[in-house]
């Protein structure tokens, strides 16, 4: 069974049993419902392409993860922005100044925030190891809870549980610009040596990054929002763009198991590029309607 590779056996069997039960339930239900209302299909046939795509994508990721688990070497090229994270924390340690980490300003319902929290876990391990002060202001209480959990675990794993203070992660303000005003003021007063912004950012991206620059910090940003990237690129020392944000936590962890995800993504990316080229060629010869329609799912 390729799935659930990193989970231990007991967990695996629990998950398996539950998902099989769920599937059985749905199948049984589908059949019974189908018997009652023949005119309406329970499975949404119009979404068949998506199902195939999800399956292809999942198998690619899981296959590479499984290879990694079996000890196959997976090559991932150097990503300069991510390497800079460790340097930045090192610099803060030398200067004896704090590291500021902002996991975006979205709530947990935004996957970018979760990517930011994963990176926070790696960064917290480094600060724990070197006893560098860490400050993580957040805008949503749910991120407060998740952030505290992440940072505490990092400190415990490095064996520095005593050094953990739960006010490292703090809820500062509810509204976007109130949050920014507070963090900007803090930056000017405390002068952090390294500012790391990882997650979903909106108009405040440049407000934060310019103030951080004025405060003299080395700055690394990462977001998947194309509309904010130009501002981070202009004002920060390193910027992780789009996909690099999601790759960062796996890359920093250096766990082969997590790198499997990146390899799987790359595999699907090649398929996407090939499909685009085929589609473009077919359409330009006016014989591509059938092919293009496969991708029409809205």
């Amino acid at each position: 069974m390729v799935i659930f590779t990193s989970v231990n056996k007991r967990q695996m069997s629990t998950i398996l049993r539950i998902s099989i039960l769920a599937l059985l339930f749905i199948m049984a239900f589908s059949i019974s419902a189908f018997a009652q209302t023949v005119d309406e299909s329970v499975f949404r046939l119009d979404r068949f392409t998506v199902l195939i795509f999800v399956l292809v994508f999942s198998s690619a990721v899981l296959l590479y993860t499984n290879w990694a688990r079996k000890g196959k070497e997976l090559f991932v090229r150097k990503i300069p922005g991510i390497d800079a994270v460790e340097e930045a924390v090192g610099r803060a340690t030398e200067m004896g100044k704090p590291v500021l980490f902002i996991p975006g300003i979205s709530d947990v319902e935004d996957i970018e925030t979760i990517a930011g929290l994963s990176i926070l876990g790696r960064v917290a391990k480094i600060t724990a190891r070197y006893d560098t002060p860490l400050s993580v202001p957040v805008r949503y209480p749910m991120i407060l809870a998740a952030g505290q959990e992440v940072v505490e675990q990092a400190y415990i794993e490095v064996g520095k549980a005593d050094a953990y203070d739960r006010d490292m992660v703090k809820y500062v303000a509810g509204e976007q610009f109130a949050f920014t005003a507070t963090v900007n003021g803090w930056m000017m007063r405390e002068r952090p040596a390294a500012n790391i912004y990882m997650g979903a950012f909106f108009a405040e991206s440049l407000l934060l990054a310019e103030s951080g620059n004025a405060a003299g910090a080395i700055q690394i940003a990462g977001t998947a929002r194309p509309e904010q990237l130009p501002f981070f690129i202009a004002a920060c020392d390193y910027t992780l763009m789009g996909e690099e944000l999601y790759a960062a936590s796996s890359y920093l962890s250096r766990e082969p198991l997590l790198l499997g995800g990146i390899k799987g993504q790359d595999f699907v990316k090649v398929i996407i590029i090939i499909c685009i080229i085929i589609g473009v060629l077919l359409v330009s010869f006016n014989i591509g309607d059938w092919f293009v329609n496969i991708f029409r799912v809205m």
């Binding site: 769920a22 994508f57 899981l62 979760i114 209480p141 109130a178 620059n213 198991l257 990146i262």
Partner: protein, 249 residues
Amino acid sequence: MKKTVPVVVAFLAGFVMVISFFFNTEQIMNWLSVTFGMDSLHGKTMEGFVLQWVTIVSGFTLVLGVFSIVRVNARAVAKKSEGWFYKLLTVVSVFAMAIPAMLPVSKDTVGGKIVFGIFPDSWRALFGTGPTSIYDWLFTYLDQPMMETMFAMLAFFIASAAYRAFRARNAEATLLLLTAVIVMLWRVPMGEAFLRLFSDSLPNYIDLFIMNGFNVAVQRGIIIGAALGAASMSLRIMLGIERTYMGKG
């Protein structure tokens, strides 16, 4: 137990959303509403049902937020550390805004009976979050101007960032600064007139090739790449491979 339960819960919470995408879940909900007498589920989708749960769970965490902001600031106030007075103001502001908003506006509820037993009935308009409430006034005349001002400050920062970053250090930086300057010119009447000196259709070409060509293409490339990253991250979370947030680093 400590590790298995969260992994299983995360998987199920995600799996429900996947299932409800591929199936017409309204029928499942209708079946539930008939079988278990859960009348108000009739006609709802499963996504909507689960998302309501998520909203409710998130709503409770607000207590943690208030607890955190009060504790961090109260600590500083108790120690009389530098700037404690400002921190006290923060705590006062939280309650000044929150308490009137939470008071009931109607006398018919249990809470209403107690509150209007103490306060005169005419104060009703000040409570809650309506147009005449304290909450609304504080928002309109204190929060609002500050939000607008922080937003407007971007004009200064966009200028200083442009000044510092837009230097022709190499090919990439040169492309960045050239397009930025051209687009900036194109967006104002004076600049547009200037561009028309070169060619009357230059402004249209900028719109067509830069905004609809380069801009659209790159946005698309980044969106596709980032979506792949997001999907792969989601899969890792659902399968418990990525568990930073629940105690596995």
